[in-house]
């Protein structure tokens, strides 16, 4: 079927008149941006809470560097999530121009992924140090490696999804 660009305007206007009325507003749902903000808020507080909740375990490790390393990684993750939360919640869809909204969202995603790329080697380093410290305990080592592999699989899938969305919007 052919499509003449000059015919597109009357065709668009005709299509608008033919669309049937849709469902009414469901005021109980959350929008995509609100869900994203909720997720950042949740993970920001979770990362912050991980520090005091894991203090007894970290104390038992008897390594100050491991404890400090863990606290630093969690604190950095929490700060990043709070920063991204602020950026998302301050995006006013009713007033801002479309280009600004698009660039802000992409900027948030870029910063999110940059942080993930920087944090992953730190986390691997921390896990390696933990495994090295407890290398005589083979069950502990197997547990850490299994958990790490599952985390890597889930993280890779999320990363693939993100890069696909990011690539499309980068066409700007």
């Amino acid at each position: 079927m052919e499509m003449n660009i000059d015919e597109m305007k009357p065709q668009w206007q005709s299509a608008q008149k033919s669309i049937k009325p849709g469902q009414r507003l469901d005021s109980k749902r959350r929008t995509s941006l609100q869900r994203l903000a909720d997720r950042y808020r949740r993970f920001a507080w979770l990362a912050l809470l991980m520090i005091p909740l894991n203090l007894p375990t970290l104390y038992r490790l008897q390594s100050l560097w491991l404890g400090l390393g863990f606290a630093l990684i969690m604190a950095a993750a929490s700060i990043m999530d709070f920063y991204l939360l602020e950026r998302i919640t301050s995006t006013d869809l009713t007033r801002m121009p479309v280009r600004d909204v698009l660039f802000r969202i992409m900027d948030c995603r870029k910063k999110h992924m940059t942080f993930v790329f920087l944090a992953i080697p730190c986390v691997f380093l921390w896990i390696f140090a933990l495994v090295y410290l407890y290398r005589p305990d083979e069950y502990f080592v197997i547990g850490v490696l299994s958990g790490g592999s599952i985390g890597l699989l889930i993280g890779s899938r999320v990363l693939y999804q993100f890069l696909r969305d990011y690539r499309e919007a980068l066409d700007e």
Partner: protein
């Protein structure tokens, strides 16, 4: 002469009544404005969301998110621009900021002819629906900003209005519109 405590209670009651009734009246006024916008621009909202959605679920999500954002923002709409221009801004911003839901192990249903038959009037002929389907498919292949500019142009919006909503200069809008049309013409001829 009334006792001071009775006077205070009476004043408190009248303030509370004013607050409740005032809020109820304000709520009714907002609902009225929203219903008016919904009735007048419902088709426009659906058309824009259809241009951005890849699947049925995305279309429904975008439509509901757009309505919700209009509802949340209607109190702050002061009428500086026309209502349709404001609706365009909110809906386009909703579409460009939308993050796809990730359904583990489930593929969303792609938009197909059957969906168009449900979405459009029963009186629309199959050939007409096929033309609409091709039009929306071509438009949805454009990048977000070019698509937004084209959609407003298709609705006969002036370049100045488009520039204000998109956040570009008038000349940039004209140049990007030309680019979008050239790209559409290329895609359309490729499909023949």
């Amino acid at each position: 002469m009334p006792l001071p405590w009775a006077l205070r209670i009476r004043r408190l009651m009248s303030c509370l009544m004013a607050a409740v009734c005032g809020d109820t009246e304000k709520q009714r006024s907002l609902e009225g404005r929203f219903n008016e916008l919904f009735c007048r621009h419902n088709n426009l909202i659906a058309g824009i969301c259809l241009s951005f959605a890849r699947t049925r679920e995305e279309f429904e999500d975008l439509r509901q998110d757009s309505l919700l954002n209009i509802w949340n923002g209607i109190g702050s709409f002061r009428g500086d621009s026309s209502a349709s221009t404001w609706v365009y801004r909110v809906v386009l911003n909703t579409c460009v900021s939308y993050k796809r839901r990730w359904h583990a192990g489930k593929r969303d249903e792609e938009i197909c002819m059957e969906f168009y038959r449900e979405l459009f009037d029963e009186s629309s002929a199959t050939e007409e629906l096929e033309r609409y389907e091709l039009m929306y498919r071509l438009i949805s292949a454009l990048p977000p900003i070019d698509k937004s500019i084209l959609l407003m142009w298709l609705d006969d919006k002036r370049y100045e209005e488009i520039a204000e909503v998109i956040g570009l200069s008038r000349d940039a809008v004209a140049s990007r519109l030309k680019r979008a049309k050239d790209r559409l013409a290329e895609m359309a001829s490729f499909r023949t």
